[in-house]
């Protein structure tokens, strides 16, 4: 299980990455992240929405109300051009961090 501090730091990358594949609403996004990381990353409502609103203010993502297949209104988030641009350097930074940690801790793949 990854520690809480690191989890917070991965949040932006996780959200941008799942939105890269298409628009999602908040709950779907949280589920997708949890499933794709096999439960290592889990966003509660309290963690997810302030971050989504902040990212929306930065114009990395854009939210809009849509009617779901069950007829319910849901707010869907999409990656914007600025968000796409942000994703690449973020990935690079994380790759560098993990690579540095691997070198430091001499961690090898099992």
């Amino acid at each position: 299980m990854i520690g809480a501090g690191i989890k917070r730091g991965t949040a932006e990358l996780a959200v941008l990455s799942v939105l890269e594949n298409g628009p999602l609403h908040g709950y779907e996004m949280a589920r997708r992240i949890e499933q794709q990381t096999k439960g290592a990353l889990r966003f509660t409502l309290a963690a997810l929405y302030p971050m989504l609103y902040r990212m929306e203010q930065r114009r990395w993502i854009r939210g809009s109300w849509e009617i779901g297949h069950n007829g319910r209104r849901r707010r869907c988030y999409r990656l914007t051009a600025a968000g796409k641009k942000k994703l690449s350097p973020l990935r690079q930074e994380w790759a560098e961090l993990f690579s540095a940690l691997r070198r430091l801790a001499k961690v090898t793949h099992a």
Partner: protein, 243 residues
């Protein structure tokens, strides 16, 4: 199923947003809880356990309210462009002009560059040094506001176009009248035969351009890029560590 709208509405009653914005937040969070509840029920949770699990999504509603307020309002006050470019840029320009005026009034004599006679240009060294510091401040402010590399760079060199415009303006007959009005000399002035504009040589013009525009621009960039490099490493490692 519990009435999530009512619950969220009660907990976020003090959310200081516009009414329509608050209603949207309430609806969105309630929908999230609805979906969580239904999903848990589909996965075999009892109604009571599903409701408990939903409630555990938020430990501290006051904290959530503060975070939502901060996330939705903070950047409304000043748009990104203002905080990332205009504010640091204008501050860079004002500080550089203020330092120049101070140096000319109270600072040491300028260093005079001469290749024979007459001398070509003079440099206010302390002012040029202060530009590195000013460029650094601009880079820090722009970077801290989340500015892109382009925004940071633009705010660092913000004063250069005005320097260039003033340089071009002051090279010509306006020189003396402008100086009388503004009371500020060039940071690097041509000391050539000003009474005969025709005598301006290409070498003198380029030297002055170098000192008036390019050297101050480079001084701003040196400090700015150093701070940008330092700040980006520091902030990136902070963000990665999640602190």
């Amino acid at each position: 199923m519990p009435d999530w709208r009512k619950l969220v509405n009660e907990h976020l009653a003090a959310l200081a947003l516009e009414p329509y914005e608050r209603a949207e937040v309430v609806e969105e969070l309630a929908t999230h809880l609805d979906e969580t509840f239904l999903d848990l029920r589909r996965r075999g949770f009892s109604e009571e356990d599903a409701a408990k699990s939903c409630l555990s999504e938020v430990n501290d509603w006051s904290d959530l309210r503060r975070k939502i307020q901060s996330a939705r309002r903070k950047e409304d006050i000043m748009s990104n462009r203002i905080t990332q470019f205009w504010f640091p840029g204008i501050m860079t320009f004002v500080l550089s002009e203020a330092f120049l005026a101070l140096m000319q009034k109270f600072g040491p004599n300028p260093w005079i560059l001469a290749w024979g006679q007459p001398p070509i240009a003079m440099f206010y060294i302390p002012w040029l040094l202060s530009l590195s510091l000013i460029g650094g401040i601009a880079a820090y402010l722009s970077h801290r506001a989340g500015g892109s590399r382009r925004a940071v760079l633009s705010s660092i060199v913000f004063p250069v176009p005005p320097f260039l415009a003033m340089f071009l303006l002051l090279q010509f007959p306006f020189y003396f009248s402008f100086k009388e009005i503004a009371g500020v000399d060039f940071p690097v002035s041509l000391i050539i035969d000003w009474h005969g504009v025709h005598h301006i040589t290409a070498l003198a013009f380029l030297s002055a351009l170098l000192g008036w525009v390019l050297v101050p621009g480079a001084a701003l960039l040196v400090g700015g890029l150093l701070v940008q490099l330092f700040a980006s490493r520091r902030l990136d490692s902070r963000r990665i560590a999640g602190s």
